[in-house]
């Protein structure tokens, strides 16, 4: 559910908007944080793509985490796989 206070804080829909909006610094940090966490967790290794395979795409999801009183707690970026294909 979206409350009036939520609508004021904008959550960018895509990476382009995130990096051009007024909070781009925070979003950039958040993305770096997420990337580092993925790296420390050994989420993937880089390999050449086998000939018979297609890679799935990804997207970034941006969320503003709020505390109980609506104050901004942190900016969060999450890398998600587009696993619906």
């Amino acid at each position: 559910m979206k409350r009036a206070t939520v609508a004021v804080l904008e959550e960018p829909q895509n990476i382009k908007k995130a990096l051009t909006c007024e909070n781009s610094k925070e979003w950039e940090c958040a993305m770096q944080e997420e990337y580092d966490s993925l790296m420390t967790n050994n989420t993937w290794t880089l390999v050449p793509l086998p000939a018979d395979r297609k890679p799935i795409s990804y997207k970034w999801v941006f969320k503003i985490k709020q505390g109980a009183n609506g104050e901004v707690e942190r900016y969060k970026a999450r890398l998600v796989a587009r696993g619906f294909t």
Binding site: Y35, N41, N42, T43, L46, V47, L49, R53, Y58, A81
Partner: protein, 437 residues
């Protein structure tokens, strides 16, 4: 994408309430832990490749792709991969998975009982020994990145309150209810005593088009349904009726939904209570309202299971088949209630609360229906009853369930089958241990 299986179990509200009832009864500790980046813990059996995220390209390796080792959010198989990982770990530390609810794990050594309820990345830990609780928490934290939320206060929109001196445990959804009252602009509405007007008989909208005039009928019924499923057996009947009119509602239906909001306004503080009365009884009640549905003359059946007086499982449902008599309707209700009884018995046995071969007692207010569960008498009047309903007789024969007579006056399931007067409505829901403190 390469995957075979995507199913991952989540806990059922009934099992959650069963465990809460046991917590109150045996004065156990109940704590909550949260998994950080849960899905990243899951591992894949099959190979998956993903494009490299732009801006984080590996220098000189731009042509490479990411071969995933761990699951990422957004993959269909992620919840399952995570669940399997957790499952393997819990089994490794001597937990048994309940067969009745695949998200409940049980460990029992001597007098120490331990339950874990898994809801994706939320874990509920229940134990009657504080040291054991700390030890398991420590083991979980070593294996996964966990956040310890200590004592359980909130779970899936339900607030859990405890009073250890009086050995009471109550769940409420006051916060959720306030939110939905606000969302549907009903926060200022006038309170009313019963959720459904006994004089109103809702019929299908004959005009065949949506006449809700912009009122978000489906959303409102859905929001109320969540409340009903979590903590409010008293809403089961009205919600079951209203959800039969999800397509093309008219103003009459909208008024009926608004009436439920008004009823919630008057019962906002109501809490479902579990306590530690020493009777240790687990009882079922079932009832049916014959031909209650105007259109097709189908009957409505309702049942509820209570442990120590607190309601743990309830249902209100319109029957699919038309019954020829009250007795027949109630006999069919007995079939439905038996299905649930068998499941609850299994769960309770897994939780170590019920001994094997214990009979579940179900109360019914129709002698004819009870005698029919024992013997196939009255051949002329019962020969047409579908074979599926005789399933209950087999179970009675096996000694899994037993039906007992209960006068209509004390039949709590009555409130799950029809609209009642204010006085009777409140008398019955008090028996569910829905308390206003």
């Amino acid at each position: 994408m390469d995957y075979n299986e995507t199913f991952a179990p989540v806990t059922k509200f009934t099992s959650f309430r069963c465990i809460l009832a046991l917590v109150a009864l045996e004065d156990m500790e109940i704590h909550q832990m949260d998994m950080k980046t849960a899905f990243l813990n899951g591992e894949f059996l099959k190979k998956n490749y993903m494009e490299q995220p732009q801006g984080f390209m590996h220098q000189g390796g731009e042509h490479l792709v990411c071969k995933l080792h761990k699951s990422l959010y957004g993959l269909k198989q992620s919840p399952r991969a995570w669940n399997q990982k957790l499952d393997a770990f819990l089994k490794n530390i001597e937990f048994m998975k309940s067969e009745a609810d695949l998200s409940v794990y049980v460990a029992q050594v001597g007098d120490v009982k331990f339950f874990i309820v898994v809801y994706v990345d939320d874990l509920i830990l229940v134990c009657n020994d504080e040291n054991k609780l700390l030890q398991i928490k420590e083991e979980l934290s070593q294996k996964f990145e966990m956040k310890d939320l200590r004592e359980l206060h909130f779970f899936l929109g339900m607030e859990v309150e405890r009073n250890c001196d009086e050995r009471l445990l109550r769940i409420n959804q006051i916060k959720y209810l306030k939110e939905i009252l606000k969302r549907f602009r009903m926060e200022e509405c006038k309170p009313i005593g019963v959720p459904f007007d006994p004089k109103v008989k809702l019929q299908k909208n004959a005009n065949g088009n949506d006449e809700s005039k912009g009122f978000p009928y489906q959303q409102a019924v859905g929001s109320l349904m969540y409340d009903m499923l979590c903590t409010r057996p008293n809403l089961a009947y009205p919600i079951s009726v209203l959800s039969q009119h999800m397509v093309n509602p008219n103003m009459e239906h909208c008024m009926a939904v608004k009436r439920i909001f008004r009823y919630l306004q008057s019962t906002l503080q109501m809490k479902l209570q579990f306590d530690a009365t020493p009777s240790k009884e687990l009882l079922g009640y079932c009832d049916a309202d014959w031909g209650g549905d105007l259109e097709y003359k189908r009957s409505t059946i309702g049942f509820v299971f209570m442990i120590e007086g607190g309601a743990i499982s309830w249902s209100s449902k319109r029957q699919l088949i038309i019954a020829l008599s009250t007795m027949e309707a109630k006999y069919m209700a007995n079939t439905q209630v038996t299905k649930e009884a068998i499941w609850i018995t299994k769960l309770m046995m897994d939780l170590g609360y019920m001994e094997e071969n214990k009979v579940m007692v179900i109360r019914c207010n129709n002698q004819g229906a009870i005698s029919l569960t024992k013997n196939l008498t009255h051949h002329a009047r019962t020969k047409h009853i579908d074979v599926q309903h005789h399933f209950v007789r087999k179970r009675v024969e096996n000694g899994e369930v037993r039906f007992e007579y209960c006068p209509t006056e004390h039949m709590v399931a009555d409130v799950l089958t029809k609209a009642l007067s204010k006085e009777r409505h409140h008398k019955l829901i008090n028996m569910f241990k829905l308390e206003t403190s």
